[in-house]
Assembly symmetry: C2
Homo-oligomer: 373 residues x 2
């Protein structure tokens, strides 16, 4: 059974990696399936950067079906006849969990007063949610992209809390190129005069133009060069006046890929908060699981997993250039060194990083096989 | 001998691919070396998107040395003891050649009244320059990136004008991904309120913030993932207060790669006109040499080279993901089909697309070998 629209306020203050403690943290979440009496059938699903808890339920802002309803449901790879699936909006998000748009102690939105958070902080909030729900140990944790980072962070930092972690199209550390693309997005937002140092909540007008540019730049990295070529190539748009695809010798969206990207940018601003985008990308850039474990950033990734009792499955896609297969292999080597059981699956899929959100039958088989053990 | 700062106004109107004719086109250029009596020792050097005619001379705005002085000069791979090198600022540029910042017939800057131009239009302007200088046939044409596109366009469209074309890190058509990255940059510029529909010339304030974001996004594509990792990795900036690299849990440039990118963006705005960036990227996106030659865009690339009498050398870099080696191979196959002599050299260099501007000894050997035949 789907229960969308749930939320709770964590009972205590949430300690953060930055040293602060955040009071009255609300966590918004949805659940699918039924929790068994032993509370032993829980799969915690971590969402990616611009996703949210609407895994199966219709998105309240876009009206679109849940982002992973292909893979989660009755008889689906994550079978909700058997498992109780929880997905929570991340700390710093904008879909009900506490984030920069939430009221601070003074009743005004935090805006840029919101503390900079980390992936581990996001995981802390969700572990606190599990505590509140009385769930001690997960059957499994799963996530793609930033969701995969959270699954790794959970297994490393809260090793007693999960029996399994399925990590899809993710990495244990953000590379210089990853950071660079995020920085372009942040600068695009901050360069928009409507950003107003983050204090745009009362104005009715946020930095939509900057956020759209940020989304456009990021969106390119989610697709593969071959996928873009196959989907759009150099095909031209038909014109509103009925002219079949022809160059206009102007700056309208002549090419279909331009039109597509503009649409991606604009539609994103209807559903996402620009400040959340700043905070969540920052958390991803700060992510370096090895560095968290060891003196002065000298830890090895194997150290991060020293205490884990989980089994792991790492999935990558051959056309994903954002978090390529080499990143998964790097994690697998560390898990091997830590003595953790791990399988590493490199799938062939044409659509780059976004493949984890699309219909990839081989991925479904991996998911089903892993959790039904 | 270096003669910087030259320019001339083309005698007739310049016909453009868009159907317009542009009057009073000024072409700014510099020459190095001495033209021989037969005018047979000329190498025309085409510059890339954000470069200009300052190949050897100090850049008047940045004070930096010429962008290819490593490769052009006495005893250099393009030996100016032997060759007379010409490099002209492209049509649409902002370093002296006619572009959107130039006065139109009414004395006001063209701004967005400037016609959308193509790579072939840029080449037309430079062929007209050769006409004005009485140079019938080049010893060779050479260029990297957009310069390479111009070299290909010259060989295809003005086959009698050059005996050789050296094409470095280029392509015969802009891919969907290339177009997508350019579109992000254009949208970043146009989203900046200071762009004012292109009419910012009188205001004293151009869309610097948008142009900087455009440059940042593009700059990532000029580098390789491995190059970025080697140069910056996840290293943190030292703080102004003397703190050694540490996360600030804020939105300053914590990572060196962020600081580097911000600097690239900001410094670019001191030397480049935002409208020129729009027009030149548009020209590159329109570039599809096969489509120009044949009915209704059904031409093959081999058709484009049917009339050429030049010999070709195509150089690519293994870490260039903007115009990868496969693009050079595609051109080589077409040249083979057209019966043109071609050598195709895939060099190993760590720095991605930008390798053509850096010291790559193997590239120098290829250049010297090709032109000294």
């Amino acid at each position: 059974m789907l229960r969308a629209g749930q939320s709770l306020v964590l009972p205590g203050a949430l300690p953060l990696d930055g040293g602060q403690r955040l009071e009255d943290v609300r966590v918004a979440y949805e659940t699918v399936g039924e929790l068994n009496a032993a509370k032993s059938n829980v799969i915690l699903l971590f969402h990616a950067l611009t996703m949210d808890q609407h895994v199966v339920s219709t998105h309240p802002r876009t009206g679109k079906p849940g982002w992973w309803r292909n893979s989660v449901g009755r008889g689906k790879p994550i079978d909700t006849d058997r498992f109780f699936v929880i997905c929570a909006n991340v700390l710093g998000g904008c879909m009900g969990s506490t984030g920069p748009a939430s009221p601070a102690g003074d009743g005004q939105p935090y805006a840029m007063r919101f503390p900079v958070i980390t992936i581990r902080d996001m995981v802390r909030a969700q572990v606190a949610l599990l505590d509140a729900l009385g769930i001690e140990r997960l059957h499994g944790a799963v996530g793609g992209s930033m969701g995969g980072m959270q699954a790794l962070s959970l297994a490393a930092n809260f090793p007693e809390r999960t029996s399994a972690a399925l990590v899809i199209a993710a990495t244990a550390r953000h590379s210089a190129q990853n950071i660079a693309f995020h920085e372009v997005g942040r600068q695009a937002i901050m360069a928009d005069p409507k950003w107003q140092g983050g204090d745009y909540y009362g104005s009715g007008k946020g930095p939509d133009a900057g956020l759209a540019v940020a989304r456009m730049a990021a969106h390119i990295t989610y697709l593969s060069e071959a996928g873009l070529t196959e989907k759009f190539g150099r095909r031209l748009q038909d014109r509103p006046d009925g002219t079949k695809g022809a160059k206009t010798f102007g700056f309208d969206a002549d090419f279909q890929v331009e039109s597509y990207l503009r649409h991606q940018g604009l539609s994103f601003t209807d559903r996402f908060d620009a400040n959340s985008y700043l905070y969540i990308t920052r958390a991803m850039d700060y992510f370096d699981l090895a560095e968290e474990h060891g003196a002065k950033g000298k830890g090895s990734l194997a150290d991060a997993f020293a205490g884990t009792s989980a089994r792991f499955c790492l999935v990558s896609f051959d056309t994903d250039w954002l978090y390529p297969t080499a990143e998964s292999r790097h994690v697998a080597h560390a898990l091997n060194a830590a003595g953790a059981p791990v399988s590493c699956v490199a799938l062939s899929a044409p659509h780059g990083h976004d493949s984890f959100l699309l219909e990839v039958p081989a991925l479904d088989r991996v998911i089903a096989g892993f959790f039904n053990q």
